[in-house]
């Protein structure tokens, strides 16, 4: 049971949601946007998330959009992960989100909720970072569409009261060769030791990570090293991991040393899959 009370509002447009948020803030309240709400409920139960008002955005049409139009895939932020997975319009995204939580939970967890969540894995963002996806954000001064990479620093950095409404990926990214793997310490369900997604565009490999550090990330310097084909794969990987953000995660899933060991081998798998060569694991 959630040990505190909050007001509940259901918005039918993004403008209504944003206005409601501003109004509540002016009243000194602490509102949150509510899509799947799984973190608000589970972390709220332990008082790790607190709110005085939830604004349900599932009734906002643009947040439920899923369509290919004008050479771009438009994905509403309030879409449940299973809906995206089953539609399979972006296979790399489908495969990556199919490993998040479990199937029933994915009926509730939403794309935008996973991206903006407190639990730091946020694996749905990984394919979007390497596919140059745009985000549509509604705020008090209207809507803006900008590259996700331009506002992503460990998480989407939104202004107070801004609402992520859509993610838009150009269709020429949807069919690119890709690789996605989630390595767990054990079992088939649960948090990752590491998750790595990669795709190849114009002969260059792009790669993004979760579980390695306390936030998901993409690093152009890592990609430069991995794509330096003058070197052999092991040397490329050794150089690449010098550019990992610090510190490497150290928790019950694995030590930093173990994570790096698994990461090196996983990067070899990435190169093998996307370069079409066979590389030996050391």
């Amino acid at each position: 049971m959630i040990p505190y009370d909050f007001a509940y509002f259901k918005a039918s447009t993004a403008e209504e949601a944003v206005e409601l948020y501003q109004s509540l803030r002016e009243q000194g309240k602490q509102p949150v946007y509510y899509a799947g709400g799984t973190e608000i409920i589970t972390l709220g139960r332990m008082k790790e998330v607190y709110t005085e008002a939830v604004i349900d955005i599932k009734g906002i049409t643009e947040c439920q959009t899923l369509q290919l139009e004008q050479n771009q895939l438009v994905m509403g932020a309030a879409l449940p992960l299973t809906k995206l997975q089953e539609a399979n319009l972006f296979p790399l995204l489908s495969q990556t989100i199919s490993e998040i939580a479990d199937h029933t939970a994915r009926n509730k967890i939403t794309l935008g909720g996973n991206l903006c969540g407190n639990i730091y894995y946020r694996e749905a963002v990984l394919p979007l970072l390497i596919a140059d996806t745009d985000v549509v954000i509604a705020g008090k001064s209207g809507r803006r569409r900008i590259p996700l990479n331009s506002i992503f620093d460990e998480r989407p950095c939104l202004e107070d009261g801004e609402l992520l409404t859509q993610l838009i990926t150009q269709s020429d990214y949807l069919g690119l060769p890709y690789y996605s793997v989630k390595k767990r310490r054990q079992w088939d369900v649960g948090y990752p030791l590491i998750t790595v997604t990669a795709l190849k565009k114009e002969g260059k490999i792009r790669v993004s990570f979760s579980g390695v550090c306390l936030f998901p990330f993409r690093s152009e310097r890592i990609e430069e090293c991995l794509n330096d084909t003058r070197l052999n794969p092991d040397d490329r990987i050794e150089r690449a991991i010098q550019h990992l953000p610090k510190p490497i995660s150290n928790d019950v899933e694995g030590s930093p040393e173990y994570r790096l060991f698994v990461l090196k081998n996983t990067l070899l798998d990435v190169l093998q899959a996307l370069e079409g060569e066979t590389y030996a694991h050391n």
Binding site: M1, F6, Y8, I41, K58, T104, K108, V189
Partner: protein
């Protein structure tokens, strides 16, 4: 206290109830509506024992607020009323302590309705959402596969 009077359609019946906005659907079903088939387990979305059907999809009722499902059709295990799937669970001894059984049944029931020709991979993907602490997974798998076979036979005869 922030409360809302809501109307829910549960097992084909319309039920009105006043809830705290912060109440989970699991709590309201059990403590306000007397439907104790959905079980409280982890209360954290991990174990699946509180699984119910919302508009044809399995959902963990501990991960839902009651106020957010006012326009949905909800089915709990009480609403199945001696389905063939339940019979298969009995016939295949697909339970030991039985605590996880309603959750498994509601998840598998939605699977059979959505994908009557589900293959092993799909069955595994769906049923991974539920935990059986007695580890009766083999018998549960047999019960679900048997119910799927029955559903396929019915479809062929239609």
């Amino acid at each position: 206290m922030h409360t809302t009077e809501i109307t829910l359609e549960v097992n084909g019946e319309t039920r009105s109830v006043t809830v705290r906005n912060a109440d989970t659907l699991l709590y309201v079903l059990r403590d306000k509506l007397g439907l104790t088939g959905a079980k409280p387990g982890c209360l954290n979305g991990d174990c699946g024992t509180c699984t119910i059907d919302v508009d044809g999809n399995p959902m963990k009722s501990c991960l839902m607020l009651a106020v957010e499902v006012q326009e949905a059709k909800i089915t709990t295990v009480e609403g199945l009323k001696y389905s063939s799937l339940q019979t298969e669970f009995v016939d295949k001894f697909a339970f030991q302590c039985g605590y996880c059984t309603p959750g498994f049944i509601m998840n598998a029931n939605a699977l059979i309705k959505q994908y009557p020709h589900a293959n092993d991979m799909l069955i595994k993907e769906w049923l991974e959402s539920n935990i059986c602490r007695c580890t009766g997974y083999k018998e549960i798998e047999e019960a679900v596969k048997s119910a799927l076979a029955t559903a396929q036979t019915v479809l062929r005869q239609q």
